[in-house]
């Protein structure tokens, strides 16, 4: 798996030990197959459940943000063979499973004029490719499905195929609104792919590798055992993280960038002609994409599976990863409940006029940081100061010029 020294405790190695124990039972010729199958099934099961509980968490949190209660009625079904029945509704936590049954049993309507094959293939492609991105995320010190040299490139390559699926969905529906919305979605995705990748380049520049596991290892160690050396705690890392967050929101069609769907304004964008389980697959892929991008953000900027303080290292690394991942998801839900949706021209302008130049400046900033890595003592302060100035001054200057004439708004009332 990884070339790290086996420094972990038993808990750290537990998932691997479990897998090896199962693999050992099987005959030798199928061992390699079982080895990989178990990894795949584990990722599918964990992130399938994670998806299910993300939906319920989102519904409940959004409800709280809007002063509602959210879904709280779904309990356990009453099995007639059981002599007793659990009356408690479990706070509605079984809602996602009820939703799954609903989606599965709904009628699947395909428009008569639709391109049947492509209409069917689009949700399959989008789910398959969004699941593929999980393969290179290091979930723990020893837990990474595939540890490859060019992991980051793989991640973005797998992610870029979702654009194709959106086009297929929009075009094959044979509905002009679907097609128009798909084109809008593509314009958005292509616009934000650039700042997303550019925000990641500084990390590659500093660590000199594309391997996700090595990037996490590079964020190890603590100052005084308390301050972690995560990249988000450097000027260029913080700027990169913010750009990454905004682009990740846009790439996963989340509010405030949910223009492709915009359920209260457009009908449902490229999903107009989808119903039943195919719609559920798109929904699932959207959440998988969001989870994978959050996982990448955690890996690149938030120290991956590293513990925040040295004395907290006894908690297994995969739990830290999941904790940070949940933090990211909750943050995204919070953003969805708080910010208003952008217009399409504002959306593309934000990307091309603001995020892309800022990300490019940030790459230069990271180059400066990398060149001055030998500075110490008072020069360290100079290094931080220059790096901060390089990113903050363009941020303020560009923000001022771009919003000139727009803000602050003045409201006049009729006398």
């Amino acid at each position: 798996m990884s070339a790290l020294p086996p420094a972990g405790s038993f808990l750290e190695r537990a998932p691997l030990e479990l897998r090896d124990a199962v693999v050992q039972v099987l005959p030798v010729p199928v061992q390699w197959l079982a080895h990989h199958l178990i990894t795949i099934v584990a990722v599918l099961a964990v992130f399938g459940l994670f998806f299910a509980f993300t939906t319920i968490a989102e519904r409940k949190l959004l409800a709280r943000l809007q002063n509602r209660r959210g879904p709280n009625r779904t309990g356990l079904p009453r099995f007639s063979i059981l002599p007793w029945h659990l009356k408690h509704t479990l706070f509605g936590l079984s809602q996602p499973f009820a939703d799954a049954v609903k989606a599965l049993t709904k009628e699947d309507i395909v428009p008569a004029a639709a391109d049947k094959l492509l209409h069917f293939l689009a949700p399959v492609v989008v789910v398959a490719f969004s699941l593929m991105t999980f393969a290179v995320l290091p979930f723990g010190r020893f837990l990474i499905p595939v540890d490859i040299d060019a992991a980051l490139l793989y991640f973005f390559a797998a992610g870029s195929a979702t654009e194709l699926a959106i086009f297929m969905a929009g075009w094959s529906s044979r509905n002009k609104y679907s097609l128009l919305a798909a084109m809008r979605a593509l314009a958005q995705l292509i616009s934000y792919e650039l700042p997303l990748i550019l925000s990641v380049v500084p990390i590659v520049l500093i660590t000199g590798t594309l391997s996700t596991q090595t990037i996490v290892v590079a964020q190890g160690n603590w100052s005084f055992g308390l301050l972690p050396h995560w990249f988000v705690f450097t000027p260029w890392g913080f700027a990169g993280f913010i750009i990454f967050l905004i682009s990740a929101l846009a790439e996963s069609n989340r509010s405030p960038f949910d223009l492709p769907e915009a359920e209260s304004e457009l009908i449902a964008g490229h999903l107009t002609e989808y119903s039943g389980f195919k719609y559920a697959l798109f929904f699932m892929a959207e959440y998988f994409g969001l989870t994978a991008l959050s996982g990448l953000g955690v890996t690149l900027f938030l120290g991956g599976w590293q513990a925040p303080c040295a004395f907290l290292e006894f908690i297994p690394s995969y739990l830290w990863f999941m904790l940070k991942l949940i933090g990211m998801i909750v943050f995204f839900i919070w953003v969805r409940g708080t910010l208003l949706r952008l217009r399409i021209d504002q959306l593309t302008r934000l990307s091309w006029q603001f995020l892309v130049p800022l990300a490019l400046i940030n790459v230069g900033n990271a180059a400066f940081w990398s060149l001055t890595s030998g500075w110490s003592g008072p020069l360290q302060l100079v290094r931080w100061g220059v790096s901060l100035a390089v990113i903050v001054i363009p941020f303020i200057a560009m923000g001022r010029t771009l919003t000139a004439g727009f803000a602050p708004r003045t409201y006049r009332y009729a006398p």
């Binding site: 060019a150 490139l153 797998a158 870029s160 654009e163 194709l164 084109m183």
Partner: protein
């Protein structure tokens, strides 16, 4: 390993061949993308991870969009199942000539290349090595290619952007 290669080859060539036969341009474009994905699979098979992922990122992710947008924006009627232009003798002759000359060049290159039975040593192709090679010994080439592509992109935009000339004075 050979079985995988045959499978990849069938996927690549099959989808490319079907793309040429089909009348529906969008289907052809999607099959062409499948063929590019097959090329990426071949790179993976050959152990060139970096090139494979770059192939997917650039071709399946980006160039496919350019192709699909071009098809959608230029064709007025997508259900048009007739040949786009009337076939003529001159047109057919030109097509055969160009096809034959391309085939001739490729065949000549294949014939004149001496294929060594096996590489003497496995090339050191880590991502870091590729990056250093690209930036150090091939840095100028990379820059020139970038400039050419940018010029091509700008040229394409200029050609495609046909502003309606409301004022006849602007036509000159």
């Amino acid at each position: 390993m050979t079985v995988a290669l045959i499978f990849i080859a069938v996927l690549m060539l099959g989808s490319a061949a079907t793309a040429m036969v089909l009348r529906n341009l969008i289907h052809s474009a999607l099959l062409l993308i499948a063929s590019w994905a097959g090329v990426a699979a071949f790179y993976l098979w050959a152990g060139a991870e970096f090139v494979a992922f770059a192939q997917v990122l650039v071709y399946v992710g980006a160039i496919s969009m350019v192709v699909l947008f071009a098809v959608l924006l230029t064709r007025q009627n997508l259900d048009d199942r007739q040949p786009a232009e009337p076939a003529s003798r001159a047109r057919a002759l030109a097509a055969v000539l160009i096809g034959a000359s391309v085939a001739g060049v490729i065949t000549a290159t294949v014939l004149s290349t001496s294929f060594k039975p096996s590489a003497a040593e496995a090339p050191n192709a880590t991502v870091k090595q590729i990056g250093l090679d690209l930036m150090e010994s091939h840095g100028a080439t990379l820059l020139i290619v970038g400039v050419i592509l940018t010029v091509a992109l700008l040229g394409a935009t200029v050609i495609a952007a046909t502003d309606k000339k409301s004022d006849p004075e602007d036509a000159q």
